[in-house]
């Protein structure tokens, strides 16, 4: 529930780092466990290492930048904000996604239900560039190497085909 503060973790972080953050910055210099940035409404979370499962679950406006890779079910039900991953994404990325925007440079093990790859237009490249810059990565990473994923918006209303 961080608000305004800048928090730097000189090492690894446990479950739910920066959970429900409102604003400010949380910077993890090592790896992060599950549910990093869960339900966070704003601010920025930077993880220098890897993040485990459910990174950005139910995110509501936070910007997350993971320099390593992320685990399964990341950005599950993500509502708003951005999740930028320099490494790879695990299974079921962006399942039941709402309007959160996902940028992944490496491979994606699988996409979750209703998550699709979307075209990278200039506005998205600009947005991604701004996030990378905010994470102190300006000039070190090429935005052209990223692919964008978002909601297909097919789950937005109940329909027989949405039920498993």
């Amino acid at each position: 529930m961080n608000k305004l503060a800048t928090v730097i973790v000189n090492g690894n972080a446990g479950v739910g780092v920066a959970e429900n953050m409102m604003s400010g910055l949380v910077h993890v210099r090592g790896d992060a466990s599950q549910a990093a940035g869960a339900t966070a409404h704003g601010g920025m979370l930077v993880i220098d290492g890897n993040a485990s499962a459910r990174c950005g679950i139910s995110m509501k406006g936070i910007d997350i930048v993971v320099k390593g890779s992320i685990g399964h079910m990341s950005a599950f039900m993500g509502q708003a904000g951005t999740l930028t991953v320099l490494g790879d994404a695990g299974e079921a990325l962006g399942d039941s996604l709402y309007e959160a925007r996902l940028f992944v440079r490496g491979s994606v093990a699988s996409l979750g239900a209703d998550c699709v790859e979307k075209e990278m237009r200039d506005e998205h490249r600009a947005e991604l560039g701004a996030r990378l810059e905010a994470a102190g990565l300006a000039g070190t990473v090429d935005v052209a190497e990223f692919r964008r994923y978002g909601s297909a918006r097919q789950l937005y209303n109940f329909h027989i085909d949405n039920v498993y």
Binding site: M1, V15, N20, A38, E99, F158, I160
Partner: protein, 447 residues
């Protein structure tokens, strides 16, 4: 043209319908076949289950004596959250308003709940979707729910609340998440929840960053730190395995536990879920109280019971079985005007009748309560509806007092299980009280 008729057998039997395949079941099969999706509705379990009607009080007579109605003191106040919180909640009556979200209810309905509860010196509760300025403004005591979805959850509103309720489940759907269909995701609701307008919202069934009592303990400490150890922390569970769930909530550090039976309502859930998951309120209380007693925490961690509480007798029975307070949801909505026969024509247009309307998720509530449509919501006058709720709460408190006095109690909390008997073997076994006229408690030895 004449047509040959199939000859009727004579003598014939009257048409006989199946008890298994009754009219409702048949209609549901046809509905499912036509639409291909399960039925979603509001409210709680509608099936008949053993309930408080199956219990009776033993009034005082020769072996003990009653108190004079209206004259001799019979207290109804209750303090919630005295275990760890530095600012526990002091209620004048042991009846609170359960969590119902702005979104599932109109802003007018939320305001009316706040007005009615405040007038009677009791609390109301937010819901899945955050705190509105209106309900904070009109509720002298407001409990802020902390749900898996975390819609609108922020530290500022946490600090504005008088207590925090961590919701793990509810009686209508223990193990299920919230639901709010698109008809009710108005621009304001959408903005509060960070969701696109008009979509069908389904919330998570688990908290995203913790599961189970070991992680919950950490979460409770986090919430206490944010609120400077001032606010009582409630933990709400749906009734399924109350002995273990209550014991674990206490071990995780709860100040208050809220236990919601299967008759407890919901804004929208699958009918099959509502009717087939969870246990009746009556069956849930004694195991919960036993858990508190076994931990030496009975009356130290307060127990709030909800799910099908309708009148002062229900309140008194909950307290006698060991609860500290009750919460009402559906009954409060009815007091505001839900399912009122005055709107019979409107209900008919929706294909239903007053008393049966449960399509709360569709947002077409003629009474203007479970809707976000401005023209319908405007039908509810928050001041008048608030007064109706206050009247109803007052009657419930007076009824509970009447019963307590008849049993010789100077405070409603001095009612005991030993003041009760049961009318059915089922209720006797569930409530752990003797069958009326006997000293037999099914499932227990003679002594």
């Amino acid at each position: 043209m004449t047509q040959d008729r199939i000859p009727r057998p004579s003598p014939h039997t009257v048409p006989r319908k199946s008890a298994t395949f009754d009219d409702y079941t048949l209609s549901e099969i046809r509905r499912a076949a036509a639409t291909g999706i399960y039925d979603i509705r509001g409210g709680g379990a509608k099936r008949k289950v053993p309930h408080f009607d199956d219990l009776l009080f033993l009034g005082a007579s020769v072996s003990r004596y009653p108190l004079e109605g209206y004259r001799e003191r019979c207290g109804t106040d209750v303090v919630l959250g005295s275990r760890f919180a530095s600012k526990p909640i002091d209620l004048k009556i042991p009846i609170t308003i359960a969590g119902m979200s702005f979104g599932s209810l109109s802003a007018q309905a939320k305001e009316a709940l706040g007005r009615g509860a405040s007038a009677m010196g009791t609390s109301t509760t937010t819901g899945d979707g955050g705190m509105t300025a209106e309900e904070r403004g009109h509720s002298t005591k407001l409990v802020y729910q902390y749900l898996p979805s975390r819609y609108g959850m922020n530290p500022d509103d946490l600090r504005k609340a008088d207590a925090i309720e961590i919701v793990i489940g509810q009686g209508a759907k223990p193990g299920g998440g919230g639901m709010l269909l698109g008809q009710k995701i108005s621009p304001r609701v959408a903005a509060m929840r960070t969701l696109p307008e008009g979509i069908d919202q389904r919330s998570a069934c688990r908290h995203p960053d913790w599961t189970g009592p070991d992680d919950l303990e950490i979460k409770i400490l986090e919430l206490r730190e944010i609120t400077d150890w001032e606010k009582p922390i409630y933990v709400k569970v749906g009734a399924a395995r109350p002995y273990y769930d209550i014991a674990l909530a206490v071990k995780a550090g709860a100040d208050v536990v809220v236990l919601d039976g299967m008759q407890g309502g919901t804004a929208a859930t699958q009918e099959v879920f509502i009717e087939n998951v969870g246990i009746p309120t009556l069956a849930a209380i004694r195991p919960a109280v036993k858990a508190l007693q076994d931990l030496g925490m009975h009356r130290k961690v307060q127990l709030i019971i909800s799910g099908g509480i309708r009148n002062g007798a229900d309140v008194a029975k909950c307290l006698a079985l060991g609860a500290d307070a009750v919460a009402i949801g559906t009954a409060a909505l009815v007091a505001l005007g839900d399912n009122d026969p005055a709107y019979a024509d409107d209900y008919a247009e929706l294909g239903t009748v007053p008393g049966a309307y449960d399509d709360w998720h569709e947002g077409n509530d003629p009474a203007g309560i479970t809707t976000q449509r401005p023209e319908l919501a405007a039908r509810l006058d928050p001041e008048r509806a608030g007064r109706r709720l206050a009247n109803y709460l007052s009657v419930m408190a007076l009824e509970a007092q009447t019963i307590a006095r008849a049993c010789g109690k100077s405070h409603v909390h001095n009612l005991e299980p030993e003041d009760l008997v049961a009318l059915s073997i089922e209720a006797a076994a569930m409530a752990g009280v003797p069958l009326a006229g006997t000293d037999w408690i099914p499932g227990r030895g003679p002594f």
